[in-house]
Each structure stands twice: as C-alpha cells, then as structure tokens.
Symmetry: C4
Subunit: 297 residues, 4 copies
Amino acid sequence: MIPTAQDATRPAEPIQWPAGKRAAAVLGFDMDAESVVLAINPEHRRRLSVMSHQAYGPVTGMPRILAMLRRHELRATFFCPGYTAERYPDLVRRVLDDGHEVAHHGYLHEAIQGMSVQQEADVLDRGLDALQRITGQRPVGYRAPMWETTYATAQLLLDRGFLYDSSLMDCDVPYELAERPGDGARSIVEIPVSWSLDDWEQYGYLPDVFGSGLIEDPAKSLSMWRGELVEAHAEGTCFTLTAHPFLTGRLGRLRALEDLVTTMTGWADLWVTTAAEVATHTRSLGLIPRAFPQPEI
Amino acid sequence: MIPTAQDATRPAEPIQWPAGKRAAAVLGFDMDAESVVLAINPEHRRRLSVMSHQAYGPVTGMPRILAMLRRHELRATFFCPGYTAERYPDLVRRVLDDGHEVAHHGYLHEAIQGMSVQQEADVLDRGLDALQRITGQRPVGYRAPMWETTYATAQLLLDRGFLYDSSLMDCDVPYELAERPGDGARSIVEIPVSWSLDDWEQYGYLPDVFGSGLIEDPAKSLSMWRGELVEAHAEGTCFTLTAHPFLTGRLGRLRALEDLVTTMTGWADLWVTTAAEVATHTRSLGLIPRAFPQPEI
Amino acid sequence: MIPTAQDATRPAEPIQWPAGKRAAAVLGFDMDAESVVLAINPEHRRRLSVMSHQAYGPVTGMPRILAMLRRHELRATFFCPGYTAERYPDLVRRVLDDGHEVAHHGYLHEAIQGMSVQQEADVLDRGLDALQRITGQRPVGYRAPMWETTYATAQLLLDRGFLYDSSLMDCDVPYELAERPGDGARSIVEIPVSWSLDDWEQYGYLPDVFGSGLIEDPAKSLSMWRGELVEAHAEGTCFTLTAHPFLTGRLGRLRALEDLVTTMTGWADLWVTTAAEVATHTRSLGLIPRAFPQPEI
Amino acid sequence: MIPTAQDATRPAEPIQWPAGKRAAAVLGFDMDAESVVLAINPEHRRRLSVMSHQAYGPVTGMPRILAMLRRHELRATFFCPGYTAERYPDLVRRVLDDGHEVAHHGYLHEAIQGMSVQQEADVLDRGLDALQRITGQRPVGYRAPMWETTYATAQLLLDRGFLYDSSLMDCDVPYELAERPGDGARSIVEIPVSWSLDDWEQYGYLPDVFGSGLIEDPAKSLSMWRGELVEAHAEGTCFTLTAHPFLTGRLGRLRALEDLVTTMTGWADLWVTTAAEVATHTRSLGLIPRAFPQPEI
C-alpha cells in the first residue's frame, strides 16, 4: 500500500495579490555564463569558442537587458551562480545598484542529481559564500541549477535563512512549501517555474554540450509566452519567465522579450516585480503549508 | 513465403454514427502523473522537481480540465494508471462524480515491451485491482501505456471482460479487433489513436527523463489538431485526441484545447463523447472482426 | 594529391522538357509499411501497436491516396519493398490497375550501409523477384531504402536492366549517371531526391524505432514544399516529392498534400508525371553522363 | 580564488562604421562539401548518396549563389576547406574571379577539439598550403570548422600572418582579440558569429551523420534572420550570416536568402561587404585589444 499524499496533492490556494493587482509576473534571468558548461565537463574550459558563447551573457547580453529594464522601469531577479559572481564581480554589483534582486543559483551551476545531502549542502554554502563576499548581501532566494532539487532542499535552505525557493513545477501560484510532511515542519515560500517559460528549450544549442540541435525563431517564443501571459493575467496566477543572458541577450530575442514586457506593462493590474517581493507578499498571507510526500513504489 | 494477411490488411469499414451525427470525437486524458517517470527509473523518486512536474497534472491541471469540460457540458475519458488512483483517490472519484469515464492505463504506466504474456497479465491485474478498489467500478476500456501492446493483449483484455482497447494506429475509425486470426476468435472493440493527436510530442520535456528538448507553441498544436478535426468531421471518422493533464493542464495549452473544443461543439453533427460510448455504439453495429497476422520475416 | 573529379563536379545540364512544359514534378510514395521497422529490428514484429502504425499505410493511407490521385487525374510512382508486395499483393496490383508506376524499393527496406557488393546484389534480386512474381511486371526504376547507395549501385542496376535510379542528391534535375568514371562506362538515368522534400522528417515518430520526437503541422510542410515547388517551376527543374502512406495518408496531412497538388495542376506548363516517364524523356535527350569519382583522403 | 577576467569580460567597444554606414553585414558561405562528412568518419566515403548530398554544394548550390550575388552586386566571403579547394579547384578560382573573398576553413573541416597545439598548427598549415597552391593567394581570414577554437588559435593565426578570425561568439561587433592576457600580446581582428545565424541548425540533416532529424521551413529561418537583421541595423552591429551551399543552395532556401539580401540592399546605410573588408576597417580603428583569460575551476 503506498501512502496517500496529504497535502501537496491538494491544489494550491489562489493568491490575493496586493491592492489593485489581479496577477503577478516575475522576470528571472539565470546568469549561468561559463559555469553551466564547466559543470557539464571541466575540459570544456579549453574550448575558446564555447567559453565565448557563454561569455556573451555577461559581456553583451547583460548590459542590454539592464538597459531594457531601465527603459521600462522594471525590477527583475537575477539568479547568479557563485562562480559567475567571482568572474564578473562588477557586473553583479551593478545589477544590485540598478535596484534588482540577486539570488542564489548554485556555485558552478551544479546539477545535484545523485549528490548526497552533505554534497548538496556544500554546494549551497560555497555559492552563498561567493555571493555574500562579492555583494556584501545575503540572498533571500534560491533557484536550483537545472531546477534540480531533492526532498532535503527545503530544509537546507531554511537552515540557511532563505525566504524562498523557485525550482518546483506543480502549480502556477506561489505557496508555502513544508520542509517535510507532518507536524512541526517549517516552510519556505515556493515560486514555481515551468520548462515552457524558459528560453533554453527555444534557443539553447552548443554542439557537444547541450541542445536539441534546433534553434527557434523568437517570434515563436513570443507567441507561446504571450499566450501563457494572457491566461495568467486572466487567472490571477504568477507568470514566472526564465531567460538566460547568453541566449536572450541576442538582439532579435531581446526584441521579442521587450515586446512581451510591453504587453505586461500595458496592464495596470499586473504586478511585475521581483521574486523576493512576491515571496514576501506570499509569506504575509499566512497560507497553510503544502508538503510533498516522497513517492514509494 | 510469408503469409498474406487475411483481414486487417483490408481497410476498416466506415462507421454509421448515431442518428444526426456524421463523425465522432473522443477527448482522452492520460492521468500519468508520477507513474510514467517512476516506471522509466524508480530513482527519479528522489528528484523533487521532477516529481512536482508530474504532480502538476493531478494538482493543477485536472481541476482546470474538469472545469473546462463542465463549461462545455462534455464527457471525456480519463485513462488512469493504478498508481495514480492510489496516490490521488479523491481525484479519481471526482472524475467519476463529474460523469466522466475512468479507464485502465496500466499500474505504474509500464512499457510492456519485452515482457512475457504472464508479466503483461500481472500488470493488467494490478492496475485493474487498484481502479476497482478505489472507484468501486470495473473499467470497460484499456489504453496501453506508451500505446505498447502485444499480439496477446486483446486476449488478455477479453479474458478480463473489457469492451474496448484504445492503443492501435492502423486506421481512424473504431472496429472489432479479433484476438487472433482464424475461426472462433473473440473480438474487442478497438478505438485507434495516433502519435500526431497526442500532446506529448508537442510539449513533453523533462531533462534526463523524456522529450526531444524542444517545446512547441500551443498555437501550432491547435493548428495541427484543428486541421485533422476538420477532415475527420468531413470524412466521418473518430477524432481521438490524447492529452496529459501535467502538460495540457498549463494555462496557454488549455486555452488552445478549449479553442479546439469550441470548434467541436459548434458542429451539431459531431458526436463528442466518451470512448466507452463509442465502443458501445461500435459493438452494436455487428462489424466483421479484423485480425492482425503477426509479420514473419 | 587527391584526384580532381572529372564529371559530376560539373553542374548537371538543364533539361529541355516536352513541348509546352517548363518544369516537371514527380509524386513518389514509398510503400514501406512494416518492412522499414522490421529491418531496423526484427523483434519489433512482437509489438502490435508498432506494426499497426506501419499498417496504416496500406490499410488506410493507400486507398485515400489512390482516390486523391484519381480526383486529380494524376499518375504517380510507388516505390515498393518486396516484402510489402508479398504482404499486400492485391494493393500493389491495384496501384498498377490505376495506371501508376510500381518501382523497386529493396526487399525489407534494408539500409545497405556496410554491406558487400554481393549482399547489395542479393537484396536487389530478392526485391526484384517479389515484385515480378506478384505484379507480373519488371520495374524499370529503383529507389534505395533510406536513399543509401554505394559506388557499385549503378552497375548492379544496369546489370539488371533498370532504366533509372532515384536516390542521389547532388542536383534538382535528372541526368545520366555513369556507372564509373572513365571510357566505356554505361549510364543510368538519375532522378535526384532531397531530404527536404520528404515527409519522414516532418511527421515520422515511433518511440524506440525512429524520429526526432517532434511531429510537425502539415501547414508547415505545405509552406516549405510549396515554396520549393514555386521555385522549381520557375527554374525548370524536377520537383520530386517523397511521401509515405503510413504518414501522409493521415487526413490532415493528405489535405496538405492535396493543396500542393492543386497548386501543381493549376500550372498548365508543369509536367506532373511518373518517375519512369521523366526517366524515359531524360534518356531521349542524349545527355553526357556524369561520373562520381569516389573521394580519397 | 579564481582570477577575475581583466579584458574580455568588458563589453566590446561600439564600432564607428565608414562614412554613411550605421551597421555592417557579412554574408559568409562555408564551402564544406564532402570534407565535413569525411572528417566525421572517413568510411562515409563509401556512401554515394551521402557524398552526393554534400556535392550539391559545389555542383548546384554554388553557381546559384554566385549568380544571386551578381544580381545584387554584392561581395561575400567563402570559407573553404583545403580539401574542397583540391577537389573543386575551378570553382574556388571562379569565386575569386567574381570578386569575392576566399578564406581558410581547415583542411578536411577538422573539429580540433582535443587536438594538441601542434596538431592544430599542422591542420592550419595543410589548409593554408592547399588554398595558396590552388588560388595563388594567401587568405587573410580564418573560420574554424565547427567554430571550434582553443586558447592557442589566435597565436597560431598571427604567426601565419592572418588579419582576422571569425569563430567566437561573445558579442555582435568585431574587435581586436589579444593572443593572450598581459602586456606585449599581439592581436587579431575577431568577427563574431552566432549559432542562431547559421543555416545548419535549420536545414542540416543527414541520417547517421548529423542533424536533429527535423528540417525547417525557409520561411521560419527568414523570419528569424530578418528579425535579427532589423535589430543589428538599428544597433549598429555587424550581422554575420553563415550559410552552406549544400543546404542554402536549394531553391526555396536560396529564395529566402535572397529575400533577406533584398532587405539588406534596401538600406543605403547598411554596409554589406566581405569579412576581410570589415576586418581591415576594424584594424584601422585602433581598438584596445580584449583578452580571454581561460577559466579555472
């Protein structure tokens, strides 16, 4: 007999957004740069073109993205691996100076699949240390590299004082995630993501490293993302888009993203803000935490 | 000399639909949830984000799909693995309470490729037992996980009293499928499916688990499915769509499905109903069974 | 020093089409049915759904395709593996009765990559024997399964009296292909093909057998093929489309193909005919044969 | 502590284009022909259809591309492997006679990943020797096959007198690339490329050799490339498109490219020229070289 899930199998509660707002949108940028490629295989560091492909993010994409956000007077969340912060410290500080949020995104963008809890904790600490050392601030949010988490992740984040995680995919609204089923469990705010609201599947291609081999037209991504945004706005959910500066920083793609942003800002009742703001608001609602019982077979 | 096929190499007979109807459409939802991922590799149970991706189906997608069907006063067929029924018993009962059909979809969404007949039978019984125990009803229909069947499947289903199967792909109308070539064979109603009328190829992506790596725009799926629907309506076939709540339950995709449903319900002469109703009607027609002789080389 | 190619490195000569015609179009249907799957792995014969997926071609797709061609009073070429002819003899005879051409397409749709010349010859003879035995006619044309040929293929075909091959991809017009470089070589007519004018890449998906995992909208294929057709018409080349009844026989896809056919038949100066007719015409032109020197490294 | 990059982590400087020009565009054609396939596996030389697929480039695509460029009075850059020059010497000389640039693209289109510096140097010399012997000219530009470079590539190119490389991807404008960080380093002009401005991902498919399995509609590529071009024009960057004659030489694809070219030539302030011209202009600007410090972990 497998156990019946008690909590997270129930739908998450609808969110009451701040006064005048019927839905929320978070623009998240994962500042992977070289880290994600080096994590796949450290030998890729010998491949100059591959490294330069990743460097496009901090070198060319980021200044454009920051300028675009300024044009629209928007604040966004930048999920930054510790390694990126160490390699591009001025850039990370500039992100903060522009009023954006910097959140934790691993140290070397490690996929933690198969790691022990101790290994997961070590990576978390290493990334935290780098971000704190370079920015002088302790991030309140975490997004797992490759959105890969374990049943220990929430507890590890709570032990380190994090307010929110943004790596799960079971719904479209933020909620309180219990660190475990049962009484006495602490909870962390979860801001869910989706593979369909990510630019990686649309644009990511690097031979012998990652990608399906196809590269999509930004017009297609825009159609798909706008379709989802229209419904999120109508339904009152939290539209959480994930973009990578080394991909979406390219001119035609950034134009598509800016077109999407223009749709967003045209709606006075859409709250376009950082993940931290959404998490703080969610925390204020006193929601009943949801727990994920680990499946047994 | 290889044997010349006697029956199934002949086209299936056209179907005379109920009075006033020129074609049929079946909306099928495969409630895979966590099962399909756990069947691929039980170790995926340690990956919280992966589990949450699958939980999107029962937690978020299903309530939306049920509400959409209520809005259009439609009944659909939900193909449910036994494991999903055990993990989400209230949800499965709610599907029945809403007037829909619940059919068999394996126990843990096992791909039976390479299994012995006894193993295939055991999986069938385990799924049947779970559905009966939880719903109090015996399903009349079966859809093989991954649409993977053997030349023993029809016989195993008939031995267990099933009325229909929905896993083959040789035509676009239901027919009587003989359990074997030759005299004295029993037959089961077959409601054929198609990989092109499935949301998996359009939207399914979970790194290290499944997917081509690309994720399609619902506008593309809608264009493709509507194109097929228009022809099915004109030709008098049975349009059988397969959707997964963990995929199509997402907002923009459900909007595309609802647009398709609106096209369907706009035609008074299209019979939109459950697979069981189509099977019962097909059985009433007294069709000559078709047999598939197994190819030899 | 690698040898400089003498002949085939020169562009093929433009074709003077019959009076009143400025370009040609050949509709080719590859009747693979079960063969292509069994050639990949004979064990697939135990997978009923997989076999039924392939049976869609002869059972459902072919009657529709033949009816469509009758509606437009067009003749097409059907490339038929010997195994398909043995399994569906009535169908193959009906293709001939409708005035179409039946050509050679291997015995079990064998990919000859890695075969010896003798093995290639044996497969050729086995397919030839099956087609002759069942249709009473000797085919004049050959299309290699998977368009996989060797530097011995032309000679093997000439030894068996074939008029043309349709498997190479170096240009868009038919030409005389020399069996080898140098004096005294015989030649066979070549009617080139293209991966971009094939429905396999657009629609072909069968898990654990073949396909990229994605399935395209017929509207996209139609746009791509019509774009090529418009240019072929303008340039005076031979538009050679390859479709598979188990793929393009589906309703929405056949609609797209029929739309393309309607474009074709709307141009009085486009010669829509069989590959054999194109080959016979090409042979009458007395073209200088082109030879492919095998690359050395 | 990993070293903080000193130079290349800063954005490249904007380019002051020649009088009257606000942006630049380079049409680059990679004349891979058979070489790229033979480099993957020399045994592919036994596959006649595969060889003919690659021969489409020099045999059919190149004459069309040269004619199209003449129609628009444009000069382009042809990146040519030494092997292609040896196999098609007349074609390479004709490219030069038409006023275009011929640049270095390896000998057999070798992917240098995993090679030693000496091996990389040997391949470079072998390609250089072939081009010089056949054209009587020494190329000033280099594009690495598969855009695969090492941290030694710039030095090797400078030792051989090259003016520019076109293989990196960190920005959208040309710049001076230092052969190494630190004082006294020489520099080479870099004209960056992008996987998204390449026809390979859109059209490249050759079973058992390369490709995702899908083939895209030229209408999609045109939409994507034109979208990027419009932005490049507005931003003053260098739009660098890479096309392969064996892919883009096909009629419908060349029509799409010509439509893009028509957009280009409609703007009087877009400088459409060769990579060598862009490199010479860039060199004249006296830019501060940028260095890529190799990542450490």
